[in-house]
Symmetry: C2
Subunit: 200 residues, 2 copies
């Protein structure tokens, strides 16, 4: 029995019936396995959900790592990779990813400690962003925007269509654009931003 098939079943259950109905019986039924059979592979519900979270977290790391590889070198490489991956690629926001993401909330409900793998991946991502050689805050705005987009998408709070993604991409790209000039005046990093930052 492929363990991934069990995890897929769990994701499906969450996506279709909600977090509250993520029961061992439902998962077993969805995977065409008896409850005993399911518990043979995941001796505890916590272990099952932990595997769910870990798979989701690994998926994100794999994705943004691959995106980083495909992005040209230079300041903001990680941030630009994120934008390209999340806003330019139409294949990302699939129903499967939504289910997989919802499972993280199942973990939150079951046992908050189970989201630890997700925390690890986020720490890694933020470390990469911090080392991205961008003006202060710019990289963090990009990551955090993606986070917010993900939240809105998973919860269905706002509609996310191609037009909105395009607008976000445009604005974030604008934010990342001054990087080229910032690189030339690296010794005065932040000064240009502070100067441009005044308003009113």
């Amino acid at each position: 029995m492929d363990l991934d098939r069990l995890l897929d079943a769990a994701d499906t259950v969450v996506g279709r019936q909600g977090i509250a109905n993520l029961t061992l019986e439902a998962v077993a039924s969805e995977a065409h396995v008896s409850k005993g059979g399911l518990l043979h592979h995941f001796p505890t519900k916590d272990r099952l959900i932990e595997a769910l979270v870990r798979r989701c977290a690994d998926g994100w790391r794999t994705r943004y790592t691959a995106a980083w590889e495909e992005t040209s070198d230079g300041p903001g490489r990680m941030a630009r990779a994120l934008v390209a991956m999340c806003l330019a690629d139409d294949e990302l926001w699939t129903e499967q990813l939504r289910q997989s993401s919802s499972a993280v909330f199942a973990a939150l409900a079951q046992n908050p400690a189970l989201i630890e793998p997700m925390r690890v991946v986020y720490a890694d991502l933020h470390r990469r962003i911090a080392a991205d050689d961008l003006p202060p805050g710019v990289g963090e705005v990009v990551v955090t925007t993606i986070d917010g987009l993900w939240l809105n998408w998973v919860l269905g709070l706002v509609q996310i269509d191609a037009a909105m993604k395009a607008r976000l991409q445009q604005a974030l790209t604008t934010l990342l654009a001054p990087t080229a000039s910032a690189r030339t005046m690296r010794t005065a990093r932040g000064g240009a931003v502070a100067r441009a930052g005044r308003r009113r």
Copy 2:
């Protein structure tokens, strides 16, 4: 009996014992009320959580409405109000707000339909942002960044300290700054952004 006291108790339970332990008994106990007494005011667990979500949603609307009132007129008023409220004000991210926010996830677990009040408030906020007279995507980046910040904060995915808020504020202010010039060339809105948007 003040209904708010019961909701406070529910928030406290969620904050202290997690979503899974948000039971009627726990809430009743926390509020020093019998289960029967609790069910007298909220005939159903769904109703209780619905009230929780509604109170949280109303809180957000009240906050950003007040922030809008205190923000100078002009393009990006709503976006600037959000930045001032969430990144400049040190009083916002309290433990109480975190508990109240966590309750939304409890709603998600109990019955996804219960987050509807939250959806309504978000729709309103996004409508205000869309009418904010900003270059395309800029306002949405601001809101979505706040959303992401909120997510990271509630889940504890990343540490949110004053320095990070300052950096985000700086970057978002930079993003909002070009508005003044954009207003003068309103007829060509988006053109300036598109021009600045090229990279590589």
